[in-house]
Symmetry: C2
Subunit: 548 residues, 2 copies
Amino acid sequence: MKIALAQLNYHIGNFKENTKKIISTIEEAAERGADLIVFSELSLGGYPALDFLAFDDFMEEAAHAAREIAGHCQQIACILGLPIWNEHAFGKRLYNAAYFIEEGEIKAIVRKGLLPNYDVFDEYRYFEPAREFQCVPFKGRKIALTICEDLWNVAEERLYAVSPMDRLIEEQPDLMINIAASPFHYCHAEDRLEVLRTNAQKYRLPLFYVNQVGAQTELVFDGGSMVFDKEGHLRGSLSYFEEDMQLFELEDILLPREAGSQPLAVEEDIAQIHDALVLGIRDYFVKSGFTKAVLGLSGGIDSAVVCALAAEALGSENVVAVLMPSQFSSDHSVKDALDLVEAIGCRHETIPIHAASAAFEDILAPVFQGLPFNLTEENIQARSRGVILMALSNKFGYVLLNTSNKSECAVGYGTLYGDMCGALSVIGDVYKTQVFSLARYINRERTIIPEHTLTKAPSAELRPDQKDSDSLPPYDVLDAILFQHIEKEKGFDAIAQQGWDPTLVQRILKMVNGAEFKRYQTAPILRVSPKAFGMGRRMPLVGKAISF
Amino acid sequence: MKIALAQLNYHIGNFKENTKKIISTIEEAAERGADLIVFSELSLGGYPALDFLAFDDFMEEAAHAAREIAGHCQQIACILGLPIWNEHAFGKRLYNAAYFIEEGEIKAIVRKGLLPNYDVFDEYRYFEPAREFQCVPFKGRKIALTICEDLWNVAEERLYAVSPMDRLIEEQPDLMINIAASPFHYCHAEDRLEVLRTNAQKYRLPLFYVNQVGAQTELVFDGGSMVFDKEGHLRGSLSYFEEDMQLFELEDILLPREAGSQPLAVEEDIAQIHDALVLGIRDYFVKSGFTKAVLGLSGGIDSAVVCALAAEALGSENVVAVLMPSQFSSDHSVKDALDLVEAIGCRHETIPIHAASAAFEDILAPVFQGLPFNLTEENIQARSRGVILMALSNKFGYVLLNTSNKSECAVGYGTLYGDMCGALSVIGDVYKTQVFSLARYINRERTIIPEHTLTKAPSAELRPDQKDSDSLPPYDVLDAILFQHIEKEKGFDAIAQQGWDPTLVQRILKMVNGAEFKRYQTAPILRVSPKAFGMGRRMPLVGKAISF
């Protein structure tokens, strides 16, 4: 039995395009001799469709598209993920389900039992969990078909009372298939490999795993579909960060592995982050119908990295870099920015902001009455740049990319409606120390980001001789403490007990909490870490955080 | 047996202040002779504490505060809502629970069984649902104690497979107590009354219901705690929109109602909305430690209403209105704004924006190269105003109130980083047609909002002779269609079938979908409707909405 794993990139709610893509992939797999083709979780409408799922017409389109697809499954069977109605007398309106289609008909329906509802996941918002589980018979074999989280009730955590595979195994299936929509973060590829391997070994069954690929606003799905044999050996894998389809002969996977076959090469973290960000930018543009990006280029490392990533994602001809020097900009800033522009080969504009910020200072003078220059005037500069970038965006239809990093975003070291402007935050989930690694990775073959940008002391250049280190601790310290608080969800006591200076920890946690109101209005942030700002971290705005 | 219902306003995460308030209320109730005092759901840490619940120190503080409170319950028993650890081998970390405290000790623990996970609620994110339910014995009576949603598994919807009261009734309890954190929207008071009444009648038991009061950023909790007898007659009620405590003699409630006793007066919608917004503004400031508000005053109805509400919430001496006329502002705009300022008695500043917007146009001229005036230049004006307001906010520590209404917010008729700036959106959940009603309600005793502001045609005044009606349908039509799409979650077909012009419906739905990216970055919006923008409505940014 030949099984095709189809790892595709879907556009949420675009049933027409998704259906066309699914049908052509079915036809290709059939031509190549597959008996069964497997698509990822909720592939029909895309994942996450969020509150599109609350609309009846979304559900009607899904049902309609599924019937159309079924019509193309005469020579080949198909597993298709889609939302379906809950027809019971109680519970949520929908199930997260899969159709098993054979000879043009829906022969079986499998419903997801374990619904993730943490971090960026909200599946209980939409779906009723299945309480019954049954294998699917196909060509004399029994398939234990599960949906993503159904295989993730892992020992340490045990989030759920039931374990669908524990039920399914009672029917003595011949293989497991798991369809997923499992978004990337830089620890996830290894976790996933381990969880899948453990399942294969535990149930002594081969496991075919299909993941979605492509970015859906903040979430980047990395693909990386896999096949394991019953010993837990990896027997095949699909690409990361791009569409892929591969056929596997079940009989081969049922045989023991030959010595020396395929180990998995998980890329190093920084390469994964790089690839995820490039895909994240590209899909944001492709799926929203835009082609050109604009961004402010300061000569610093953050905007340099975003510019390089954007050029890679969109083509350098589609990136417009805007230099907006002020009286506080150093000469080297402009030079560093121009060196970058030249290395990338993108268009640039130079628009000095002084006339605008001076105009604001003039018209505010009667109200400010000689009060000294402070953060207000720094913010006016940042906001003047925001107005200029948005004017270019409005006039020419460019999409503004935000260039703030996660460290600044965490402590509120950024101006709301100023440098926090943008339709998409590219590196808002990348700590400053990681931004340096990313820059070095971008420079791995040739110097794109100027050496001086990499070596000079970070500065916002909003007042004379300003340095980030004037108001922030060194980034390696800051990032280490932020990681404990944000990724590890540790509070003051727990972090201080690790040996960090308690005064510093308190100061940093206070800054993080005090910046909640800014982050509420931040652009969507491409998620690459296990805990990104945005939907995955929901803090009270008006609340008193513990310990300070 | 005397039961005290304590309807208090909590500050999320502020265990010190919440505990102090709870203890002093316990002491007051004990002095007044209460046998039992009942606090609302999750009162200890405040509701919703969101991801504060992920931090161990939050849980430790809660446990510590509960022990301290228990020490004050020697003469009086107490029902206290709080999060507790899940000590089972599986499931989410926490339960949403209540302690029954008697003689200084925790005598019983009740856990919530039905966890709302829709609209603004995410309880499955944090809590494991209880599967077992037991009555609490107290002074020879049995109390069926439930937590909020536990009583809401109502017939039409039946969201849940189990119904905790159906289990508890088997123990033949003598009374029901329900503790809640049920946020306001303008249909909710009547729904809630009906659900509670139905429960009392169904189980033939008196019902004591305690709700939280006070605003928590977007969510406004309206209080309105109630007591029903077993016939479903309302026998007592606490204030709406303010703290209250009242004592009820259980024996009285167990007796049949005397003729003519207490009917419930639910205020008309617009009065409720008014009260909710005033409380929402006030609590945002009080709980975040600010006193002064700033807002842009255009002479139009939206900013006039927000200014009047802010003055009511904070005192007119704490409101600074900023007039920012441009060359496109009509004379009457300035006059209308000044009339309002005078009626309210607040401070104002007049800061013409022309110099700033002209400076931007000048410095952009080389790039724009003679392209005609369009939306870009309109946005520059709106953003120049945003920069000015934020400068005042930064310089003087004012909180900027946003003045956009729900109709504009829905169709994207507003400038991101311009008139969409603000820390809190006051009327972002109030349709334009409702804003007019609200203005008339504000004027119910004397003219605060000038007559001319109420009667002139709405205009953004960003180009000569602009009117909202140039680009939008009349507001009564727009709002009716928006209501179907947003509150009723109806798609194109369903709305068009109601008889609306299909072309218009399509155009409006397209605008709503196209403005998703703007709303993603909007300030938190005080919620007064059954479906507000924000946490209660989560749409894909990069997706294709159905039907267009």
